[in-house]
């Protein structure tokens, strides 16, 4: 990456309100910018995103892997939770293996009614994600239900309550990837 791209990357990371990003710019004189999430936070995130130790004392295991004290590892994770970078530490279940059914739904909503319709959609505990998008189909949400009957019932209820008829239910026919982790 050349200097202009590097600078753009640094600037993107420097938006206010991003507590994770701490810059070290000592190398500027040498014509290079070094932008990094603070090293310990980055190392912690890279491990615990996919592989939090399932152990009675997980921070001892983490500390050992990183060559730091258990208390430092715990303090690091606590800091990342308090600053809002980590939403939670826990399991991501395979919905299908639990016998549940999940679908993506697309709705075409008049722009003026979008917020109101989104409120109705979001009021269901079966709706896990609900996003406005810049398309003719402008409301997209995921439903996770115990069975297909529940999917159909919730979809019918949402249509009835909002008066929006144009809703498409799009089950996954094939899954190629479900993973959310990023390298820091």
């Amino acid at each position: 990456m050349g200097p202009p791209e590097e600078r753009a990357r640094v600037e993107a990371l420097c938006e206010p309100g991003i507590p994770l990003c701490r810059l070290s710019l000592e190398r500027r004189e040498a014509g290079r910018l070094e932008c990094a999430v603070e090293t310990l936070d980055r190392q912690l995130l890279n491990i615990i995103q996919t592989d939090f130790p399932v152990d009675a004392r997980p921070y001892e295991v983490l500390g050992e892997r990183l060559g730091i004290a258990a208390s430092e590892a715990l303090a690091g994770v606590r800091r990342l939770m308090e600053s809002g970078v980590i939403r939670k530490v826990g399991p991501s279940f395979d919905t299908r293996k639990l016998g549940h059914v999940s679908v993506l739904a697309a709705m075409r909503v008049p722009e003026a009614e979008l917020a109101e319709v989104a409120d109705v959609v979001g009021s269901y505990s079966q709706v896990t994600h609900n996003y406005g998008r810049d398309h003719e189909y402008n409301l997209w949400f995921t439903l996770v239900c115990e069975n297909q009957e529940e999917v159909d019932r919730v979809a019918a209820e949402i249509k009835a309550r909002t008066g929006i008829e144009d809703m498409r239910l799009l089950p996954a026919e094939r899954v190629f990837k479900i993973r959310v982790d990023f390298e820091f």
Binding site: I18, K97, V121, Y131, E173, R174, I178
Partner: protein, 166 residues
């Protein structure tokens, strides 16, 4: 699925507290010895019931502020090859094949994350060039109305579990 397993899933949903022995807290709430809880979690990891056990991030706070749902019109006989190529991209978190519908000719979905719209566009362009699929669109998020973890057992069993754990 046993009642005990349902209870563990329900209580684990809120995640671990940042304390020295977080699994002890969960085990106490469930009412099992910690070793039994750890063994169950390990068994679920091994059989794929738990896809991963770890930190779930708010990506906006970690610098990944933009997400685009890429939708692609891929001939059915090339869908698998496209999906496998898309899955290799670190900037793509999810990739599914879904049915086409009237007025919407796209059948492959990719969730693309980036630090800017340009990042997302670059990712899509690279995937397009690599796969030879030129018919695609990026649907950007205009509002995030809700983002939460699934409630897996919200019926009678779930309610019984929740009231007992209070």
């Amino acid at each position: 699925m046993t009642e005990l397993q349902r209870k563990i899933i329900e209580i684990l949903r809120d995640g671990l507290a940042p304390v020295e022995e977080p699994f002890h807290e969960i085990a106490n709430k469930v009412g099992v010895p910690v070793d039994e809880l750890l063994a169950q979690v390990e068994a679920w990891k091994a059989d794929g019931t738990i896809r991963r056990f770890g930190a779930i991030l708010r990506h906006q706070r970690a610098g990944y502020s933009v997400n685009a749902m890429g939708v692609w019109n891929v001939p059915d006989d090339r869908a698998a090859a496209f999906g496998c190529t898309a899955a290799r991209s670190r900037s793509i978190s999810h990739c599914y094949q879904r049915p086409r519908f009237d007025g919407f000719r796209y059948n492959l979905y990719t969730m693309i994350h980036g630090r800017s719209r340009q990042d997302c566009e670059d990712t899509a362009k690279a995937l397009s060039e690599e796969t030879g699929i030129a018919d695609y669109a990026l649907l950007y998020t205009t509002a995030e109305f809700k983002k939460s973890s699934p409630v897996y057992f919200s019926g009678a069993a779930g309610r019984r579990i929740r009231s007992r754990s209070k």
